[in-house]
Symmetry: C2
Subunit: 401 residues, 2 copies
DNA sequence: CCATTTAGTTTTCAATCTGAACTATATGGG
DNA sequence: CCCATATAGTTCAGATTGAAAACTAAATGG
């Protein structure tokens, strides 16, 4: 006997419709819909919407924002919007910086701060302590703006087990099977702190607060090459949660050994270190190397140009294979690759045309406009979306607290 | 306003529970559960299960099979099973044969027939006519066994648009944008005939009636190299429906041009034609070439051995990339590759170990045991599963007819 | 100032689950 | 042989919830 699926109960209908109405309000965004508009949009009756909205307003997730007067005849509607008094704190640990952001339910970044921090090889406790300082700033900003913090999201550049708050492997931080205690960053937040992968969070940020296409592959060029796969407006994580590892796709079977133990991986051709090395830019401060590279490219330095050209070519090989395997039709470049896009894009497009002609239209290869805040928005957004998708569970969690 | 999601109605609960109960009966399979066991397994009350089962029995999808007597005390239960009087016809068009099978609701292959047919380059009308002859045999077998035919599934080796019954591209048949009329093969079947891709169907057949693992990549080595991705016990088709094109993953950036317009694709190294050519087996009858190849391998012919070794090596590259990108942890070899498995497997495993060490355990690289019937079972199974997942809709469709 | 229009609420009804009581049918000990 | 016990399955009252329709509320405009 298989009991994996829960039986449908009468009350499930309300859970679903609560979410449907809340999601409609979220999607409609600035338009601030009335109950009647929600009824038309969702297919529910006005009576049902009224009842559902009453619950959402009681819970504090939705606020009425005055009358909706547009000069038409008839009684004006009450505009509804996601409460701007509820927020989530997004946090990010990366190789050379830490960042936090306060995001309200509507997805507005209400506060933002970051500090440089050489985290590579640093103990997790030390990093979490520094991050705690930043989180305290965000909490102070929240109470100054009277925003109640529902929970937090923490993104790290590595493979994570969000269920157990473990960083399974973050090679660029030199972390392996590190247990984190993210909840301590935000004591008292009813929904706790959700740990997630940096590239996946950035992809979700792009989905919810950026381009907004329902299907795309986000390519994160931080120190490593990562990826986030969005299919049908959802993050595809695969059965084990580690899908999207674009950096370790094999792009040349005779390629050099990779830190992952394999060989010929994309990261050995298009990772930051590989590009710097090929461009002949010596080790120094990381920020400085990126600037030197950009300067060299601007000056049409041949080694730099070739380095980026080769990276684009191999990125094209990886994207061609990815598009074939996962039927991906759009790609968003983020991180380092966004900075290099001007020089990277032509080689990448030529490579795609060679290996998978016609599969990806050039217009569907875009650059992320969110820059570094994409990761914060995505990390916080995961908690916000969980509330929008299961408001009933949030009501319970709030009542218990 | 976004109206993509339908509102929850009170009646949805019953739809869901109808499916839940039917699915429980299907999964329990030979055990023929009683209503009380179903109640325990699903979490529903006995009252609810009784009411749901009554509807399912009325519809003819489920039959009572006498008392369930096991020597225990208490009233014996009525055993329930999927009706063996309802069936679906699975059909397959491939490059050099046609096949049909009659599959009952419980997944038993009750009748099977195939004929050789050189379909490459043949007009679709002609092929469908021949297939119609085979389908008539299956229909006769069904009426002889008093099985009512609910619908059919038709698998073809190419990219299809099931919604519009179009074969968008089947290069090995030389079909391009061909409109089919599969419904004419089974006049009067209430659910019509569902068109699908051959590799995807074989993967689904493996899922439902073969190994039964919830996450795996099925590799179909027919004339081309295809793939079917199963994630969370569902077929992953990607946003456009063409995911799993393993044959056109780039495994060598300096590789030869491919028929798809790209270069260095897996198919140019591991397709049937490529292997035959590399093994030095001249063109003749297709069946004969396979036999010659197997004989040469058995005789340890160096060219044949190297050809298969190379194919395995490049297949390993493609699988390493796939595993990284989609987090795939198990692979099932089908078709041609199943026949060659003995010689292919060592090279493939060595290649995986080189390019993605530790990612795929050797025990998770298996060979399909269903052989050619896997595709038929999968093609028919898609219709069977659609009934199990939406019995309510099937009841409506049946009542209209 | 009242007809018209649109927003939102109240009321009645039907669907469907749960829970408890009840009926049906077996086993087994005295 | 009969009755206590156990298990299967049914019946019925109660609760939740959305649909449909009637109703109330609040605006515009001639």
């Amino acid at each position: 006997m298989n009991e994996s699926t829960a039986p449908g109960r009468v009350g499930d209908v309300r859970r679903r419709n609560l979410s449907l109405v809340l999601d409609s309000i979220a999607r409609t965004g600035d338009a601030k819909p009335s109950r009647a508009q929600l009824a038309a949009g969702t297919g529910l009756t006005k009576a049902a919407v009224s009842s559902l909205v009453a619950d959402l307003v009681d819970s504090g997730l939705v606020s009425e924002v005055g009358l909706y007067r547009d000069g038409e005849r008839g009684r004006p509607g009450q505009g509804l919007e996601l409460s701007s008094r509820r927020g989530v704190i997004g946090m990010e640990i990366n190789v050379d910086y830490l960042a936090v952001g306060l995001v309200d339910l509507g997805g507005n970044l209400r506060f933002h701060a970051s500090v440089e921090s050489r985290n590579r090889g640093l103990a997790a406790e030390k990093v979490m302590e520094r991050l705690g300082g930043l989180a305290a700033e965000a909490k102070a900003a929240a109470s100054a703006e009277k925003i109640a913090i529902m929970g937090g999201g923490l993104a790290v550049p590595g493979l994570v087990d969000g269920q157990h708050n473990m960083v399974l492997s973050a090679p660029n931080l030199h972390w392996e099977n590190v247990q984190l205690h993210p909840r301590t960053l935000l004591e008292g937040a009813p929904l706790g702190v959700r740990l997630s992968n940096e590239a996946n969070s950035a992809a979700l940020g792009e989905l919810w607060y950026g381009g907004g296409r329902p299907d795309f592959l986000y390519v994160s060029g931080e120190v490593g090459v990562g990826g986030g796969v969005i299919i049908g407006s959802e993050l595809y994580t695969g059965p084990g949660g580690s899908a999207g590892e674009l950096g370790h796709i094999v792009v040349h079977p005779e390629g050099p050994a990779c830190s992952c133990g394999g060989a010929g991986c994309l990261e050995t051709f298009a990772g930051q270190e590989a590009i710097f090395k090929a461009a002949g830019i010596p080790e120094g401060s990381l920020g400085g190397r990126t600037e030197l590279l950009l300067a060299a490219l601007a000056a049409q330095d041949p080694r730099a140009t070739k380095a980026v050209h080769d990276a684009g070519r191999y990125l094209g090989v990886a994207l061609a294979s990815s598009a074939r395997l996962m039927d991906i039709e759009a790609v968003v470049l983020g991180g380092h690759f966004a900075l290099l896009a001007e020089w990277l894009r032509p080689a990448l497009l030529a490579s795609l045309e060679r290996y998978a002609p016609g599969l990806l239209e050039p217009g569907n290869l875009t650059v992320s406009g969110l820059e570094h805040s994409g990761t914060l928005l995505g990390a916080a957004g995961q908690v916000i979306r969980s509330v929008i998708e299961s408001p009933f569970e949030f009501l319970l969690a709030s009542k218990l607290a």
